[in-house]
Each structure stands twice: as structure tokens, then as C-alpha cells.
């Protein structure tokens, strides 16, 4: 009997130990699970940005969980089709991807991506509610379900050389006209004391790169004035493109002027080139995502530390009146959100790099992939990564906006951090924020049709009117090919996103 009691006690103690261990692990982070022997193949675009933090943190994650992370990179322009053909042909060479959430419109309906709704809710370490609502809703959610883990927050804004503008008594640009006049003011002057002529503005204008977003950032101010749900790409009644009207013409005109106020080979510059020029002190103004802000504090490459200011995208005092299809002066009806008579339409270009998981991967690999994405997005890691320029990650969590410690530790002054985060916050909180296109084959509309027409326009191959006609015809042709009603539904559905 005594022996039986002893055995029973041991059994109870054993079960208790197992239960306590199990309940303990359920409260732990998903990255503390053991994934030994698992390899996660993650594909993203050729870095150094975006790929760099994934590669840098992969060994730490392996130490923590035993899972090996293999980061595969492909050029940005190839990523969309590479993923789609890999999924569609069931090659399944990638278990996870860090990609453009705009493409969910193409990847989710055929069932290529894993539904992450349950996982994000159960994962306490991810701190899902710390991610700003816009990124949770736009970058992560498609038709009510979560498919991605946001790793980056994307808004385009304008950077200016605070020291130069202050010295010459100039205010940061509030409108695109201001931007042009400031750029002209500094064009050809030596801005960094190296004896060379520098440039008023540096923009990325290269074809088949990430340039076309800059034009949308300009056009948004003329095309959307009545709030996010109005949309800046299509008429929400009939899916007619908003690319052939006086607003689009004004934006093209600004874009063309800017192509001539900058470095001589601006048409061959990608964002890497324009960022490099700005942080080496060769430009007075630039338009970019959050990257310049963090690159400017990097002592290894920046010559403009603490000399950089950031503002919300410039706007316009005249906007497109869709009832007359003419440009009209802003008034309370036409521009209900105008500030000092200027309509600002901050553009959430791209939406922010986000991680997703291939539905066809094995259950264990999917668990490991989610643990990796969760690890990358967790406040501890991401809070640090968003302050490092070369990561390409920009702030997207509430804690990253409220906690200035990481920013000051990274080398930003409190004033500069407030300035930088303020520009992003004012974009994020704007009721007239412009959402990027998220409809089936959005890559064709933007990356192919728009990109090519803009490049041809800048090169002088086609006139302003021909550019507008070409974009409109190509967009209409694609819309009709895919189905106008379906595209309209997808577009309207994407605009109903809450911020």
C-alpha cells in the first residue's frame, strides 16, 4: 500500500510538473518554442534594406529556437511575379515572404497565404495592439482576416536641410509651389562646403524602380481633398482612372519641373542614389519614406547630422473639383481638411513591408515562420530596428512614437526625433490620408503602366497630354480585361479601411 501511495505521489508530481511546464510555455513568446532542425526560407527584395535586419537577426533567432532562417533576396521589380509564379505553379520554394501588402489582392483570393488571425491573437509577445491601427488594418488585414505581420510603416514625406533654410530665412515647403521655389533657390549652390555645385532637390526618377510613388505623392494633393474614402486613383462610381484631368496635369507639370532641378542624372537615380546624395549634404530637399530620417543620424555616412527637418507632404491650394473636372480654389466644401487653405494628402505609399507565410508549407515550418516574424516585429527588436537607417524599417508601433529613448540612443536629438516622428504622426492622423492601390494586379497599374508612362514623359518621349491618355488607356484596358465591376468592388473595399 505504501509503495502504491509512493507511486501515486510520484505520478501526481510528474503530471503536475508537466502541466506547469505546459501552462508556462503557453504564456511564453512563440519564439521560445523549440524548432530545432527546421529551416525557414524567407524571400524579400535585394537589400541592403529590409533584407539586412532579417539576416542580422536570423542567428539570434536560431540560438533562441533552433530554427535556421535562410533569407533569399530578389530585385524589387521581380518580387511580385516571382512570388506569384512560385505559389501558382506550386513550386513552393519559399515558406515566408516579407513583401508589399498591396499584393494581398492577388495572393489571398487564390489561397496562397496562411490566415494568421488566430496566431496573432494568441501571441502575447507580438503585442498586436501596439501596432498602429492603420498598419494593422491596411498592411495586415484583408477582408477581415489577418494575413501579414507588419514590420515597417510607410509614409512619404519631405525632408529639408534645416540649417540652410534657417540661414536664408525660408520656411519648410507647405505647397508644391513652395517646394519648387526652395529647390530653385538652392540649385547650383555649394550646400556641404566641398566646393562642388549641389542640388535644390534630389528625387528618385529611375524607371523600373521605386520612383512612381513620388509622382503619386505629388498628385495626391491635387486629386484627393474630401477624405480617405474619396480615393486618389479611380472614380468610385465607375472605376474611371483619375489620371486624365487638370489635377493630374498639374502634378505631371510639377514632376517635370523637379526633374530639372536636381542632379544631372536624376532620371537614372533610384531611392538609394537620392538618399545617398541627401545624407552627404548635396541636396536641400528630398521626398522619401522614413529612411532619410534615420540615415541622416548614421555617423558612418551622414554629413547632415542634426541638420535635417521633416514635414508632411506638401499640398496644394487648388484641387480637382470632380463635379466640373476642373481645378478650383480650396474652400470649406472642396477641402474640408485643409490647413491654412492648403489641401494636404499624405500618401501611405506602399503600406510598409510586411511578413506573410506560405499556406502550402508544413505545419512546423509555418509555426517557425510565424515565430520568426513575431520575433522581428516584437517591440524589443523592432523598436531598435526602426532607428537604424540601413534596415529600411520605419516606425509603425505606438510605442515607437511615444518612447523617444531608442531614438536618442541612436543619435537623434530630442528635437529632431520629435520633428521626424511628428511628420509621420501628422500623416498617420490625417483624415485625408491617401491609401495606396490594393486591387488585383495593382503591380501592373503602378509598376508597369504608370512607371513606364512617367519615365517616357520625363525623357520627353511623350507629351503631358499623351502621358495622361496613355496611363488612362492602359489602366482602363487592364480594368476591362480583369472585369470592371470586380475591380471597382475591390477598390471600394480597400478604401473602407479604418485608420
Amino acid at each position: 500500500m505504501r509503495r502504491f501511495l509512493a507511486k501515486a505521489l510520484v505520478l501526481v508530481a510528474g503530471v503536475g510538473l508537466i502541466v506547469s511546464c505546459t501552462s508556462g510555455s503557453s504564456n511564453n513568446t512563440s519564439s521560445s518554442t523549440n524548432f530545432s532542425g527546421t529551416t525557414i526560407r524567407v524571400v524579400t527584395f535585394t537589400g541592403p534594406q529590409i533584407a539586412e535586419p532579417l539576416q542580422r537577426r536570423a542567428p539570434d533567432f536560431e540560438k533562441l529556437t533552433g530554427a535556421k532562417v535562410q533569407v533569399i533576396t530578389v530585385p524589387f521589380a521581380d518580387l511580385y511575379q516571382k512570388l506569384l509564379t512560385d505559389f501558382a505553379t506550386k513550386t513552393n520554394s519559399y515558406d515566408a515572404t516579407v513583401f508589399d501588402p498591396q499584393w494581398m489582392g492577388d495572393y489571398v483570393p487564390p489561397g496562397y497565404l496562411e490566415d494568421l488571425t488566430d496566431r496573432v491573437q494568441k501571441d502575447s509577445s507580438l503585442q498586436w495592439n501596439d501596432i498602429a491601427p492603420f498598419f494593422r488594418d491596411f498592411s495586415a488585414t484583408f477582408k477581415g482576416k489577418v494575413y501579414t505581420v507588419p514590420l515597417d510603416g510607410d509614409f512619404q514625406m519631405v525632408y529639408y536641410r534645416k540649417d540652410l533654410l534657417q540661414k536664408d530665412g525660408l520656411q519648410p515647403p507647405a505647397t508644391w509651389d513652395d517646394y519648387i521655389s526652395i529647390a530653385k533657390h538652392f540649385q547650383g549652390k555649394d550646400l556641404n562646403g566641398d566646393g562642388k555645385n549641389d542640388y535644390g532637390s534630389c528625387l528618385a526618377m529611375k524607371r523600373s524602380a521605386q520612383s512612381y510613388w513620388a509622382w503619386i505623392s505629388i498628385a495626391a494633393a491635387y486629386l484627393q481633398s474630401k477624405g480617405t474614402k474619396q480615393g486618389a486613383f479611380f472614380n468610385t462610381d465607375n472605376m474611371q482612372p483619375l489620371t486624365n484631368n487638370p489635377g493630374a496635369a498639374a502634378a505631371l507639370d510639377v514632376y517635370k519641373q523637379l526633374s530639372k532641378i536636381g542632379p544631372p542624372d536624376q532620371l537614372n537615380n533610384d531611392v538609394g542614389d537620392s538618399r545617398g546624395l541627401f545624407v552627404t549634404g548635396r541636396c536641400a530637399l528630398s521626398l522619401d519614406w522614413g529612411d532619410i530620417g534615420t540615415l541622416a543620424i548614421d555617423p558612418t555616412q551622414s554629413k547632415v547630422q542634426d541638420k535635417v527637418g521633416a514635414v508632411i507632404l506638401p499640398g496644394s491650394k487648388r484641387v480637382l473639383d470632380r463635379s466640373t473636372n476642373q481645378l478650383a480654389d480650396c474652400n470649406a466644401t472642396l477641402c474640408p481638411n485643409a490647413v491654412n487653405g492648403v489641401n494636404h494628402a499624405p500618401f501611405a505609399a506602399f503600406g510598409g513591408w510586411s511578413g506573410a507565410i506560405n499556406k502550402a508549407s508544413s505545419a512546423k515550418v509555418k509555426d517557425a515562420a510565424f515565430a520568426f516574424l513575431s520575433y522581428m516585429s516584437a517591440p524589443k527588436q523592432s523598436g531598435e530596428d526602426v532607428t537604424i537607417g540601413k534596415t529600411g524599417f520605419n516606425p509603425y508601433r505606438t510605442s515607437q512614437f511615444t518612447n523617444l529613448d531608442n531614438w536618442t540612443k541612436a543619435g537623434m536629438s530630442t528635437q529632431a526625433a520629435n520633428d521626424y516622428l511628428g511628420a509621420i504622426k501628422s500623416s498617420l492622423q490625417s483624415p485625408n490620408m491617401v491609401l495606396d492601390l490594393r486591387i488585383p494586379q495593382s503591380a501592373f497599374y503602378e509598376q508597369t503602366a504608370l512607371d513606364q508612362a512617367l519615365a517616357q514623359f520625363l525623357a520627353g518621349e511623350i507629351s503631358l497630354n499623351q502621358t495622361m491618355t496613355q496611363i488612362t488607356n492602359q489602366w482602363n484596358s487592364k480594368t476591362d480585361e480583369i472585369g470592371r465591376q470586380g475591380q471597382l468592388d475591390a477598390y471600394k473595399s480597400s478604401l473602407s479601411i479604418t485608420k
Binding site: A88, K90, S208, P264, D265, N268, A459, S477
Partner: protein, 381 residues
């Protein structure tokens, strides 16, 4: 142990084996050829036919896979007459006097060649028909080139590719021949230069493209001091359409001249010395030796290497893709890059249509070249 068989038994065995042997003999050809046929069908004919079908279809994505919707010649119509016509064929404008003069000269030349063949002793009906068709297609291409380049119009990817091939192959041939003739001279360091001249060919084309991207940048890069010396740092030649095309052509010439050089060098080095020595003894000067002795003897190698370079030249993609991304605008975009940019947007059918147009053009140029030029040269040699 020994085996003894009677003559009768051997005869019986032989008579049994004869039909089997004959059957095997008959089947042997099939057995030997079949693997090659299967390989060719699998790796050449099947992809060719499959891509032809794709070029007549539109790709769509459905639950768990892809679907191809047959659209007939819709993709080709889009290229030749539809929304992609300016991109593929270019934009034509009214002819200038220079354009008219060029067209008259070229068409006149075509007419003279046709007339000479028609009146010549070797004419055949098939040959004449072939030449008329070739002349008509070549005439149309010349018209397109003149109307898009020598006017205020704009060349499409077809014309740009033809310009690349014509300029690149001509310059590469002249430079390759010059270098080969130089290296066969008994000059000091010839062995060293023989290797040095080959180096560009060994570099990956993407590397060459990045190299030229740095070299053409006037505001920074290794040639900056040179540009600065001439006050050209505020001028960018790769943002000008013809400047960018020139940069692509210089890169291609730099990379592929060694290929022509090595083939011609091999041809020149194997030439017998007797003819040259006899010519020198007879008082021929260097030019006469080259033009009357060396050049005719290397013509077969010349025509082969030029044919290879023409075919390869039509497929140029790395340089314009990396150097300029096909820009400014679409100025440097070749046919292959055109197909690639459409493919990237997942218009697989449209991309296959461009690829087929390229195949048709390369086949036409290749066959015309072989029929009209190479055979004659080989026969002469």
C-alpha cells in the same frame, strides 16, 4: 570442356536468328535515334509549341493554380496595331528630305540587286520568290527605321534592337579584326595582350553593366576627374535617349569584341604562309596582302562569327536592364527587355508574343544572311 555443334544445328540456329537479327537491325536505328528525338521534342519543340500557345492566351490566377484563356491573336494585335504599338514599333512622323533620300538610296539598291538576280544566269523561280519576299520584309523594316529615327518620331523596341545589332556587330567586327591583325604581328608583349583582350568576355554581363553605370556617371565615379576637367559634371549623357543608347552600345562592343577577336585570330594563325610570302615576293604591299590574300581566306570564319554575333546581339538584355532599366523612357529597351518587363507584370501571353516576334525577326535575318551572303562566300572560298 568443349562444345561440339553439328553443321545442321548451326544452320538451324542461324536460320532462327536471321529474322530476329533483321528485326533488331531494323529497330536499331529507331533505338539509337529515339532518345535524341525525345530529348529534342522535350527540350526544344515542346517549349516552342507551348510558348506559342501561351502567346495566344491570357494568364489568370484561380484558386490553387493558373488558367490560360485563349485570346487568338489578341496579344499580337496589341503589339502591332493596339495599345502597345508605340512601345513595340515606335512612333512614326512625316518623312524629312533626308529620310526620303535615304529611303530612295536603299530601295534603289534593293531594286538593283533584285534586277541583277532576275537577269543573272543562276536565277530560279524559287530563288526569285524568296528574294522578293526578303526584299519586301527588309523594305518594311527600313521604312520603319527611317520613319522613327530620321524623323521627329521615336523608335520602338524592335528598331532599337536592330540598331544595337547593326552598330554593335559592325564595330565589334572592325575592332576584333584590327586587334587580331595586330596580335599576329611579331610585336613585344603580344602574348600578354592576347590574354588581356579576352578579359571583357569573361566578365558576367551584369558586371559589365554595373561597370559602365559607374563609368557613365558624370557626377561621381572613377571617371569623375575626367568629366570635371572638361566641365561636364552637370551634363548627364545617360538621361539623353541617344546618349543612353550609345552607352549601351559601347558596353556591348567592349564585352563582345574579344569573341570576334579570338575567332579571327585563330583563323589568321592557321593561314598558310606560302601565299603571303609569294605575294610579298611578287611585290604586293601590306594592304594588297591583306585585301587579296588574308581577307578572302578568313571570310568563312568571318561569316560564321558574324552570324553568331547577330543572333546573340538580338537577345541583348543585361546591359540596358542594369545600366538604364530601359530608360530614359523606353529609349534603351531591347526586345528581350520589353518581353521581360511585360512578363514581370504577369502578362505572360503578351510577353510570349514579344518573344515570338523576336524569334521571327531573328529567323528572318539569320536565314536571309545565310542564303544571301554566307553560302556565296563559302562557295567562293
Amino acid at each position: 570442356m568443349s562444345i561440339h555443334a553439328s553443321p545442321r544445328a548451326l544452320r538451324t540456329a542461324a536460320s532462327w536468328w536471321r529474322p530476329v537479327g533483321a528485326r533488331l537491325d531494323r529497330g536499331a536505328s529507331l533505338v539509337f535515334i529515339l532518345p535524341a528525338v525525345v530529348v529534342i521534342l522535350a527540350f526544344s519543340i515542346f517549349p516552342l509549341l507551348a510558348s506559342l500557345y501561351v502567346s495566344l492566351s491570357r494568364l489568370g490566377f484561380s484558386e490553387g493554380g493558373v488558367e490560360l484563356k485563349f485570346v487568338g491573336f489578341g496579344n499580337y494585335a496589341k503589339l502591332l496595331f493596339g495599345i502597345d504599338q508605340p512601345h513595340f514599333l515606335g512612333v512614326t512622323r512625316p518623312l524629312t528630305p533626308v529620310g526620303i533620300a535615304v529611303l530612295l538610296v536603299i530601295y534603289g539598291l534593293f531594286a538593283v540587286l533584285l534586277y541583277r538576280y532576275a537577269r543573272g544566269p543562276n536565277r530560279t523561280l524559287g530563288g526569285l520568290a524568296g528574294r522578293v519576299v526578303t526584299t519586301a520584309i527588309a523594305g518594311a523594316l527600313v521604312w520603319l527605321i527611317v520613319n522613327t529615327i530620321l524623323t521627329s518620331g521615336r523608335p520602338g523596341t524592335l528598331v532599337v534592337t536592330i540598331v544595337y545589332v547593326a552598330v554593335d556587330v559592325s564595330v565589334q567586327y572592325l575592332l576584333g579584326l584590327g586587334l587580331a591583325l595586330l596580335v599576329v604581328q611579331h610585336l613585344p608583349g603580344r602574348r600578354f595582350f592576347r590574354v588581356v583582350f579576352l578579359l571583357p568576355m569573361m566578365i558576367t554581363p551584369v558586371g559589365v553593366a554595373y561597370l559602365f553605370r559607374m563609368l557613365t556617371d558624370t557626377s561621381k565615379g572613377p571617371l569623375y576627374p575626367l568629366w570635371a576637367h572638361f566641365g561636364l559634371t552637370d551634363v548627364s549623357w545617360v538621361t539623353n535617349p541617344w546618349g543612353a543608347r550609345l552607352a549601351v552600345m559601347i558596353g556591348d562592343v567592349w564585352q563582345w569584341t574579344p569573341f570576334i577577336f579570338i575567332v579571327l585570330l585563330a583563323a589568321i594563325e592557321t593561314l598558310p604562309h606560302e601565299l603571303t610570302e609569294a605575294a610579298v615576293v611578287d611585290g604586293a604591299n601590306r594592304w594588297q596582302v591583306f585585301w587579296r590574300i588574308t581577307f578572302p581566306q578568313i571570310l568563312p570564319a568571318t561569316t560564321t562569327v558574324v552570324l553568331i554575333r547577330i543572333i546573340e546581339g538580338f537577345k541583348i538584355v543585361d546591359l540596358p536592364n542594369v545600366l538604364t532599366n530601359g530608360g530614359p523612357g523606353t529609349a534603351t529597351e531591347s526586345l528581350t527587355l520589353h518581353a521581360y518587363t511585360i512578363w514581370r507584370a504577369l502578362d505572360i501571353g503578351g510577353s510570349a508574343a514579344v518573344a515570338y516576334m523576336l524569334l521571327i525577326v531573328v529567323t528572318f535575318v539569320g536565314i536571309s544572311y545565310v542564303n544571301l551572303f554566307r553560302r556565296r562566300v563559302t562557295a567562293m572560298a
